[in-house]
């Protein structure tokens, strides 16, 4: 059928029409080959705008449509849908970007108008060669994989499992709980962190629809949205999960002590251990790096004591394979190590501690039983809290870690509650933006905490006056007074940045998702698609996507659960039709395309000796086409014919 093209020029209010002479572009478009109608309108994306297109398709018998407006990122789906509703295949539509690529980048009206004409002409020439394509649908496996058992993973897993859909929750530590389990109280309401978290952990542990895989890591992943295959390595615990009763005798009697990760290094654990008493599952693991049996072949005391005969030194890692339809990554953050900031003296000066160490110290179930104490066991009379350690600092992390102001103020409150110590906060700006946060700030101010605006230059034990002898001295510029000052204190707490996990890069590669410049996982759209990623079917929630507090984390986790449940509920997903196709008659089977494909979408057919594109995985990026020596690959919707025509149009 001879192409009959309709062209629609959008004003976008004054965004386009302010710079581009849209009427002139309409006149120009009317003169192009095969163009039956050309119109302009204030907002093409509005309902009247879309109706213009639909009416013309019906009344004028259009079989191709071009809209010249904004970037296709937002509204290509809108206009494709409009075409489809009027009975036209959505791939017979083409969009010309005369806003981001034209009106927004110049103030020269004449030049902008010329460029808009070129872009419209290119789109018209291109759409002439468009072919109708069919989107396909694939069924969705109703199981879900959640990676990471902190509050984000727990929340997402429970939301999905409560709807009676199976969830595999993978956690690499021996217990779920994550960082939240380490915290004492939570700002601004001061609920005890454990009191609100542990019931959820227990729920996860006993939920009939959650299969909890702790001390496990995802090793390999294949497949695509709706149909992922995942290999999970269950590391050997050396404790038989089926037999262990969780009595705890083994860890009471084990003679080998090690710094506890859960206690942030300020407390000890045994070589056989559960990280904390409320661990889920309440089954210990043996740390082979510190267990004397694994190091020297002796001891085995736990084995002798265990009445349930659960200790199994012969246990091996197990790799299990699960099939899921979607994946939620909730791999969390890691705390910035302040040792490189030499001038703050962490690990060099006594009583300079990190925020997480303080959380454990002030926690009544922590190593000091909730007593705030100095290294010599005495109670401090004065404490300095330094904000933004490693955050808002170009040398480490440019971003704001978002929780430090609030937890620093929570610390001040807790210190006042536990001791008579004077508390001074050193801040750059106070960021108390959440619900009830500013009120909490005022409360802490009224409790007598002193706030100094200024990032300290140094913490030193070199005294200059008799009052400073034996103290830690904070050297800082009080920027509100405009003075260099020195403040002697007994203890310094460094409110350290939240940073991406040290292996975030490996995780990103494993799951084929991107990271933003700060190293955190990149969401699909920062405002309108905040938990999805560029890889369909994989979602990111909590601090692995960026620093955030518990309320935001829980909201994101619930949002991802809703996205997953929507997919499960529909039962199938639509697959983009603009995919690569390999002409098997030309393919030499060299597999270069398979090597370059960033989405692992190409398989090699051993029998026929040719490569084949998995259309469900293919994103239509075109890498294989550029790589193919034999010119055997082409891309639907980006054929050579279409691209050459587009270029010809551009060069009017």
């Amino acid at each position: 059928m001879e192409p009959r093209i309709g062209v629609y020029i959008c004003h976008c209010g004054s965004n386009i029409a302010g710079t581009v002479d849209t009427e002139e572009v309409v006149r120009f478009a009317q003169g192009l080959d095969s163009v039956v109608v050309a119109r302009d309108y204030k907002f093409m994306c509005s309902e009247p705008g879309q109706n213009l297109i639909k009416a013309d398709i019906t009344e004028l018998g259009l079989n191709r449509v071009v809209v010249a407006s904004c970037s296709p990122t937002m509204h290509e789906p809108t206009f494709r849908r409009a075409c489809q509703e009027a009975g036209l295949n959505p791939y017979l539509f083409e969009m010309a970007n005369i806003r981001e690529h034209c009106s927004w980048v110049t103030e020269d009206r004449a030049e902008a108008t010329e460029k808009a004409k070129a872009l419209v002409s290119a789109a018209v020439k291109r759409v002439y060669y468009h072919q109708p394509l069919e989107t396909r649908e694939v069924p969705v496996n109703p199981n879900t994989l959640v990676v990471g058992g902190g509050i984000a993973g727990i929340q997402a897993a429970l939301k999905i499992a409560d709807s009676e859909h199976k969830v595999y929750l993978v956690e690499r530590d021996p217990s779920i709980g994550g960082h939240m389990a380490q915290l004492d109280k939570t700002f601004p309401t001061l609920d005890c962190s454990a009191c609100i978290l542990t019931p959820k952990m227990t729920q996860v542990g006993s939920h009939p629809y959650i299969e909890l895989l702790t001390y496990s890591e995802v090793e390999e992943i294949s497949g695509y949205i709706g149909n992922f295959k995942v290999k999970v390595r269950k590391k050997a615990r050396y404790v038989d999960e089926a037999r262990c009763t969780g009595c705890g005798l083994c860890q009471t009697k084990c003679p080998w002590k090690v710094d506890s990760e859960f206690e942030a290094g300020i407390g000890k654990r045994k070589a056989i251990y559960t990280p904390f008493p409320q661990a889920v599952p309440n089954i210990p693991v043996i740390d082979t790096e510190h267990c004397v049996y694994f190091l020297k072949g002796t001891c085995r005391l736990c084995e002798k004591l265990c009445e349930a005969e659960a200790i199994d030194f012969e246990q091996q890692d197990k790799v299990i394979e699960v099939e899921v339809g979607s994946i939620i990554l909730a791999t969390g953050f890691s705390l910035f190590d302040p040792t490189p900031i030499y001038q703050y003296g962490y690990k060099r000066l006594d009583n300079v501690i990190t925020s997480l160490e303080f959380e454990r110290m002030v926690n009544s179930s922590g190593p000091t039983g909730g007593n705030i104490v100095l290294k010599d066991g005495s109670e401090p009379e004065s404490i300095a809290i330094i904000h933004c350690v490693g955050s808002r600092d170009e040398k480490y992390h440019e971003y704001c870690s978002r929780v430090c102001c609030m937890h620093s103020m929570k610390f001040a409150h807790l210190i006042k509650e536990h001791t008579d110590a004077e508390v001074c906060e050193f801040y750059i700006d106070i960021r108390s933006f959440g619900k009830g946060y500013e009120e909490f700030y005022n409360r802490v101010l009224n409790e007598g905490t002193i706030f100094f605006r200024g990032r300290p230059a140094e913490i030193t034990n070199i005294a200059e006056t008799p009052e400073e002898e034996g103290k830690l001295v904070v050297q800082f510029e009080d920027t509100l007074v405009g003075l260099q000052r020195r403040l002697p204190v007994d203890m310094v707490i460094l409110s350290c940045a939240l940073e991406p996990q040290p292996d975030a890069d490996a995780i990103a590669r494993l799951f084929n998702i991107s990271r933003s410049a700060d190293g955190f996982f990149l969401e699909k759209h920062p405002k309108l698609d905040p938990v999805a990623t560029m890889t369909d079917g994989i979602f990111v929630v909590g601090c692995c996507q960026g620093p955030k507090d518990i309320p935001d984390t829980v909201a994101q986790a619930s949002a991802a659960a809703a996205e997953v449940l929507a997919m499960i509920s529909k039962g199938r997903v639509e697959i983009e039709a603009a995919t690569a196709v390999i002409d098997e008659r030309i393919c030499s089977g060299c597999q270069v395309c398979k090597l370059v494909c960033p989405y692992s979408a190409i398989d090699f057919d051993e029998e026929k000796g040719v490569c084949r594109v998995n259309e469900a995985l293919c994103k239509g990026c075109g890498a294989c086409i550029a790589a193919c020596f034999s010119d055997a690959v082409s891309l639907n919707h980006f054929t050579n014919e279409q691209i050459v025509a587009e270029m010809e149009g551009m060069l009017v």
């Binding site: 490189p340 030499y342 070199i462």
Partner: protein, 268 residues
């Protein structure tokens, strides 16, 4: 590598000139830039303050073309012109990145045998941030010191100010700053302080006795310029190194180096 003395060089103008007349100060500095540019070589200076002053002039001229025109108008009187194609580097930068500590170590003839040295960078070697070293916790001098077989002791005040020219106008303030530097080095067990800044060297060396009398202290820390310490390790005699002109006598340092050396020799 060969060092060629810049013919006709003059004072860079230092810090005080800039606070009196900025344009004139830039012209004074730019005269040296123009002379150096003509040679087609990088300009290296062993003075932290010259390095900062000259670099500041260079950057201002790069950023402000109208300033370049004004300055060149002044330079034209002396038949000079600056085009903005000069690299200005500190001696420490050249020693570290061009010569490299490995090559220096290979040329050491009298290893310093673990002499405890406080590496004192001073404030201007790392600030403003023209080089690659960390401004708050620099490392370059530590690496040079260690390549000589000495031990760089932890020195928290390594990038603090010595008072600079304030020793003339605000002497009591500057003496207080110098005392802190000496105190921190002594506490960390340093046998001497080494610095790549001539003004720091002068202040810490020449005013040490005044610090002692003002604060009732008894510091006796030789203050070596970086070239003196390197020279000792390379086996250059101490008269050529000018060690006899140091005000705080470096004899104990020399005794230590050679005594240990003798012990090592007699042992083998």
């Amino acid at each position: 590598m060969e060092l060629i003395e810049l013919e006709g060089w003059t004072c860079c103008g230092s810090t005080p000139y800039g606070s009196l007349d900025e344009l004139e100060a830039i012209v004074v500095a730019a005269r040296n830039l123009a002379l150096a540019e003509k040679t087609g070589l990088d300009l290296v200076t062993p003075c932290s303050s010259c390095c900062v002053t000259l670099n500041r002039a260079r950057i201002q001229l790069e950023d402000h073309p109208h300033l370049m025109a004004q300055v060149n108008e002044a330079l034209a009187v002396a038949n000079l012109e600056y085009h903005g194609n000069l690299q200005i580097r500190h001696l420490v930068d050249v020693l570290l990145n061009d010569v490299t500590p490995e090559v220096i170590a290979s040329k050491v003839r009298h290893g310093l045998n673990g002499l405890k040295v406080a590496p004192y960078y001073g404030c201007q070697l790392v600030r403003p941030h023209y080089g690659s070293d960390d401004t708050e916790f620099p490392q370059s001098l530590d690496r040079l010191v260690e390549s000589l077989g000495a031990e760089a002791v932890p020195y928290p005040l390594k990038a603090r100010c010595c008072g600079g020219a304030l020793i003339i106008s605000e002497q009591s303030l500057a003496l207080g700053l110098i005392r802190k530097l000496l105190d921190s080095a002594a506490r960390n067990g340093a046998q001497c302080i080494v610095t790549p800044c001539p003004l720091c060297q002068t202040n810490l060396d020449a005013y040490q006795s005044q610090v002692n009398s003002k604060f009732k202290t008894d510091y006796n820390l030789p203050i070596l310029f970086i070239s003196q310490l390197i020279g000792l390790a390379l086996g250059i005699d101490h008269i050529s190194l000018g060690l006899n002109t140091n005000i705080v006598s470096p004899n104990e340092v020399l005794d230590y180096i050679y005594e240990v050396k003798r012990e090592v020799n007699s042992g083998t």
